[in-house]
Symmetry: C2
Subunit: 471 residues, 2 copies
């Protein structure tokens, strides 16, 4: 039984024969997991809708995230999953406060839409005022002498564009990931970036920023794209203005007022929610599939990542319903992903020494899967072809690059666990990512269903793969 293409079907037929005495021998075969998934039930949708409606935003380490864990345990138990449990861990908690930004000169004051970045320092309730030091890119800031930055509010611009594979995030995202750290080391009083986002709405994109040990955090925020455009236009005009007092051609500085009052609440509890579909072979290593339960605080985390939890859970449910698989499927609804992958790290600390056959994660929205990438041992070459064949009818092509895995299974993969990525279409993902606009209406039910069908097809194969293929 090297490939076991008909394991699930055979198991289903056996069950059916046992329960339909007297039925004709020409009965149609029972539905496969993929058949079940294709019936278009609403498991993934209802998880996404219920979680985002009844809990809403689920900031890591807050009461809302704890309520989401209780909700998740109850939902997974009611769906018939085994070993449903919460695994707690501790983490540092940062929460948003007031946030206001205005351009205050040389033109009339104008308010800008801003969101503090995770780990931002506070300006204090009275805020700060400063001259804008403009940098067209993160790299220009890195290259700038401290004299251009010291005592100023650094603004980092960039040109992020949408891409199906989301590849702009790594390059342009540096402005958010470490721009504040670079600015702080050069003596800036604060940093404001153009949102790492591809939309044109007045909804700034938040997300974490990180300061090196020994660097004192400074206030850090992101402007929405239209507000960044406005800042740039005013900055260009300010450069052209002649100082009327001196009649010299020296530029008038563009000035900003900034009020950001986030707080660090210290160490709090978060937790992972884990559930399983028990396999028939207790000795076989499990397949681990992940999503994250926490979200940023301004939207309801529909595409990031309630939909991911809906997708993996619906797929696991369909595989379970079609008959017992050989391997255990373990679902990880990770906590505290957004603010530093604390849930993924906690899972690795608790379970990293256990064997895992393969790891997967759904955390890139709810638009259709268009490509499958593999990082599997040589023994799984045929397995990967089997998977590629199974997903091709749903419009999924085979990628040429190794799978990277998701954040919450990143530690496992770094430790050598094989990985498969079901790449989702990210063309509009960064329109919504980490904004107040990440709400249920952005989830397309038809594309969500395609995700479930593809995940089900892959999961049914993996859960019945042999130890020779995936040790």
């Amino acid at each position: 039984m090297k490939t076991m293409p008909s394991f699930t079907r055979l198991a289903g037929i056996a069950t059916l024969l046992l329960t339909t005495a007297g039925a004709s021998a020409s009965l149609p075969p029972p539905p496969t997991a993929v058949d079940l998934a294709q019936r278009g039930d609403d498991i993934a949708w209802s998880i996404t809708e219920d979680l985002t409606t009844e809990i809403g935003p689920r900031m890591a380490g807050t009461e809302a995230e704890a309520a989401a864990r209780r909700w998740a345990v109850a939902r997974l138990q009611s769906m018939g999953f085994a070993n449903v449990r919460e695994e707690q861990f501790d983490m540092p908690v940062w929460v948003r406060g007031a946030e206001e930004a205005s351009l205050i000169g040389p033109f009339l004051p104008q308010k800008l839409a801003i969101a503090a970045l995770g780990n931002s320092a506070s300006t204090g309730p009275k805020g700060i005022e400063g001259e804008i030091a403009y940098f067209a890119t993160y790299d220009e800031l890195v290259a700038a002498p401290s004299g251009q930055v010291k005592g100023k509010i650094v603004f980092i611009d960039h040109q992020m564009k949408a891409a199906q594979d989301g590849s702009g995030y790594g390059q342009y995202g540096r402005a958010r990931f470490t721009g504040a750290n670079v600015a702080a080391k050069k003596g800036a009083v604060a940093v404001v970036i153009r949102s790492i986002g591809t939309d044109s709405h007045r909804v700034p994109h938040t997300g974490g920023t990180n300061f090196e040990a020994g660097v004192t955090p400074i206030p850090a925020g992101a402007l929405s794209n239209p507000d960044a455009d406005q800042l740039v236009r005013q900055w260009q005009r300010a450069q052209r203005l002649t100082n009327p007092a001196t009649a010299k051609d020296d530029a008038e500085p563009l000035r900003m007022k900034l009020v950001l009052t986030p707080r660090n609440l210290g160490t709090k509890h978060s937790g992972n929610v884990i559930a399983e579909v028990a396999g028939s072979d207790p000795a076989a290593s499990p397949v681990i599939i992940a999503c994250h339960l926490d979200s940023w605080d301004q939207g309801t985390g529909a595409i990031d990542d309630a939909a991911g939890c809906g997708i993996i859970t619906a797929a696991a449910k369909h595989v379970m319903a079609a008959g017992q698989s050989r391997r255990t499927i373990r679902l990880l609804w990770a906590g505290a992903e957004e603010v530093g992958v604390f849930g993924g790290k906690a899972y690795f600390e608790a379970h990293g020494k256990e064997k895992h056959a393969v790891a997967m994660e759904s955390d890139f929205g709810a638009d259709r899967i268009w490509r499958v990438d593999f990082k599997l041992p040589d023994s799984a070459k045929e397995l990967s072809h089997r998977i590629a064949l199974a997903v091709a009818p749903f419009g999924v092509t085979m990628g040429q690059h190794p799978a990277g895995g998701g954040a919450d299974v990143g530690a496992l993969i770094a430790a050598g666990v094989p990985a498969i990525d079901l790449q989702q279409d990210g063309t509009r993902y960064f329109d919504l990512h980490h904004t107040p606009d990440d709400t249920l209406d952005k989830v397309d039910p038809a594309q969500l269903r395609q995700n479930v069908v593809v995940w089900t097809a892959v999961l049914a194969i993996l859960a019945n793969s042999s130890d020779a293929e995936l040790p």
Copy 2:
């Protein structure tokens, strides 16, 4: 000279002949106004960009609107218009304060994006809490007995959809125009409506609401569409919940906390800015073309209505540049339109007894003109055909319904002044209308240019129409 199709061209040729002694008789004709408009200059764009960048939001009766008037006078003078002036008037001023809304039960508290409606009362800084009384439509609220409303926070839902002619605004807009008044009369403590808008972003649509004399205003706000969706989902779930205390099947109420602290600042100055292109015949009645200079306070009023001012001004400039017309063209950049058409009324009080040949306004965004509507005297039948022929090459069809005119020329038209509407495509107008998202990036330069070309073609004909056509 009944139709004078070549007046402008002849005047231009005469000028040219006088200034190019020795030139060949086979010189090409000088450019017409439409030729000039088609060269794709950036007059309309630069007015829109400069006004929205250097002034930004221009709430009626505020210092920002006064700054915009000074800006407008300087700009119109620098462009060579005649009789540029400000005509002041007084008006009551309402300004936004804090605004917060949360759903607070039966689920965990969740914040909603809300904007106070113009003329909303204040909840006081501590806010109010109340049970939601849900109405699927404005008409259901009108039909409801007071007992369903008294002491509650009324929510008005609706199903507005985008339409090219914007025709949903009148029907669904009633929820905003008078919903608060209806709710107040039935004893509601506040009213919250689904935004009169067709987008799905967390940017609520503000706009004025009106209370009858003798009705005490109540707090009134609009939720963004995704927030209204969330309220509806929670309301549906609350209806289904059984009260655990009584174990009876009575619904748990959905509850909201609301903080809106707008203020009435009393009577303040606003003003209209007026400019002219002087005609050759001082006895001929002028053509009046309008836009409005004020905007709501949360966006920069790019599509509503900086672009309108850019369009009419660029068209007038092109007609002026092509040679003197017979009629004077008068530009009205009206003040205080959004909050009650105070500028249009003030213009009518000051100038309503003067003769006007025809009135037009651009105040429906910056997307392309697709239809021309007329409300002209019988004497202008041939004139309207001439206009329809002139705009047809730019994709503009002739409508079957009478022109309505814009708000700022509404009093003139009601008093019998003929009107022409150059109808803009409103398909996406209510995605942006009265939201923070009304910013420069929403203006499409190509469609803006089409507006200018069509306005120029119409204006050149009107400014040279005969007294027999338009008395």
